[in-house]
Amino acid sequence: MNGSASPPQPHPHPLRRAAQNGLMQVEGWFDSAFGPKLNPLTQLGALGYFYFWIVAATGIYLYIVFETSINGVYDSIEYLTVEQWYLGGIMRSLHRYASDALVITMMLHLLREFVLDRYRSVRWFSWFSGIPILWLAFASGINGYWLVWDQLAQYIAVATFEWMDWLPLFGEPIANNFLTRGSLGDRFFSLLVFLHIALPLFLLFAMWIHLLRISRPRVNPPLALAAGTFAMLFLLALYKPALSHPPADLGMVVERVSLDWFYLGFYPLIEIWSAGWVWLLLVGTSTVLSILPWAPPFKRSSPAVVDAANCNGCTRCFEDCPYGAVVMGPRDDGRPFPSIALVSADLCTACGICVGSCPASTPFRTSTQLVTGIDLPQFTLDKLRKDVDQALARLKGESKVVIFGCDHGNDIGKLASPDVAVFSLPCIAMLPPAFMDYVLTRGHADGIMLAGCRENECFHRLGVEWTELRIGGKRDPYLRDRVPRDRIATAWLAPSEPGELAGRLKAFRDNLMAMKISAAKDGEKEHSHVS
């Protein structure tokens, strides 16, 4: 029985859906090995921060022993690598490999957010501010390679300046700085060191801006994942230390270079295509990425609205909003509460998590129209209660189940039947715990199944986590103790796992039937014992 659903969301493009299914498959493998909480694919942003800090910490040590004169720069790096391999060499290798790992995590993070369609609406800010991060990270890494002043550095420096010369910014070609032996002085490396400190600082600043509109961002990976990834980098540093090319010599052309393809992969294109085409590729790609949030299909829902008469300023919606769209402000309606929730329309995704957190969101209230403290105009709690009431009245069968799903999870409509009612919500955490209580304790259904996004992969970031905590009695609003937990099943699954969801539903219903039979036998025993 298809109870009701939130207003229909545009279906993903078949290509995007296929990519999502592929991604979910891969993430499922990682889930199996690491567990949902340690899955590195769901911790890419936090891992990026972690790698940044490794690069920063090792960079400080390298800076201490770095010689900035043109004759000393190469020797100082060689000393670190060869003579002091046990400390400086490992630091250098960690510096390189963590930088490379940062590029991998950045790219995967970008790809994942794109595939999962997490860059539109209010999420434009994080997406848009991520583009400068890419440029700054690459600029920092490329600049770092110059500091070694080996043949690789010579190649990159000359190629970079020739590439820059394509832009009509400079009069005399700046590549002339590398024309012959003796063209460079000590000041050049002082400038490079300054850049190699300034650029990462700008990068860190951009990373901070990137998270400004995200509530409770994950900037530290779980300890076990951090330890595992650090151990991997450390062992790699021991097994394959980062080494220099022969020293730079501007009198000779670099014939062959061992490139770091993570940072320098586009450099051969400057010579194979041309500087102009590479500018077009990089600037064009960045521009297209930057405007993606405003590309169709447009799907902006109306933001949540606060009903002052039902808001007592309890701050639960403020605490639970994943986007920082709810703030607490002073109230002027004369009610005896110090504050009132205020919704920032620009930040609200209409996920409904605030509705689920509001203590006024209880269907037990007897008023004809259910008005809660904060609600979604296009899918009100009152409509949900009416739909649930109608569906419960029509449910027939031995094990009646109500499924509350999520618009971004499995398509639960296919599971509707005379004894199964389904309701799809913008996010599973929109469902107030009182609704579970309402459905079960009124005796209209034998069980409730909550079908949301996969754990740690919630489209609205925190919906699954908040729901688990509410049911477990660890986060307000709690699910009341009187609600039998064995009559609630959760299925946190990817949209690509409809078979698994159907299997879980069947198992749950079998269990409900078994409980019913067991209860009936216990009732008979008690009855015969009494008589």
């Binding site: 199996s32 567990g35 012959t180 051969p268």
Partner: protein, 172 residues
């Protein structure tokens, strides 16, 4: 409430495989495969010239009476038009032309130098270099010509510049 996990040993094997895969990708692509930029037995001639073409039009001499009316910092006796001629540079290697370009003057008023920067890959070995420049707007012939024998070992980076004071090409 979560997906079923691999059993203990398999779980650690799976994690180990994931870390190993990342280590292999990092270790390999951080310096492999090598990029070969230059064919064997090849050298590079790098042409780097910054030279202003001659002014278009004749310079005139200012009259004394006019000089008194101008500011002291602008009392030049010669008055020249700002616009310069384009500069044509041609390089011949063993009689074969390997570079030829006419470069307009830089600047909004076309009064700046003409800039040339070019990498030319040539076979290593002994060569005769003929270097020519035209900066006067003439139709035929060249204003500066230099011929020089050079020995280029493989991967040599030979720079050709133009020295304005000596009005000649210089090889470095």
């Amino acid at each position: 409430m979560s997906r079923s996990l691999m059993p203990g040993a398999m779980k650690f094997l799976g994690q180990g495989a994931a870390y190993l895969a990342l280590a292999v990708v990092l270790g390999y692509f951080s310096n492999s495969p090598a990029y070969i930029r230059l064919a064997p037995d090849t050298a590079v001639i790098k042409l780097s010239i910054s030279h202003g073409g001659q002014h278009k039009g004749e310079c005139g001499t200012r009259q004394f009476a006019n000089i008194k009316e101008t500011r002291t910092t602008r009392r030049a006796l010669q008055l020249c038009p700002r616009e310069r001629h384009s500069v044509l540079v041609e390089i011949f290697l063993d009689g074969e032309r390997v570079f030829s370009r006419e470069q307009p003057p830089s600047g909004l008023s076309s009064d700046g130098p003409s800039y040339f920067y070019e990498r030319i890959a040539v076979p290593a070995g002994r060569h005769r270099l003929d270097m020519r420049m035209r900066d006067s707007g003439r139709v035929e012939g060249f204003d500066y010509e230099t011929t020089q024998e050079v020995e280029l070992e493989p991967a040599r980076n030979l720079a050709i510049v133009f020295s304005t004071p000596s009005a000649n090409f210089v090889i470095k």
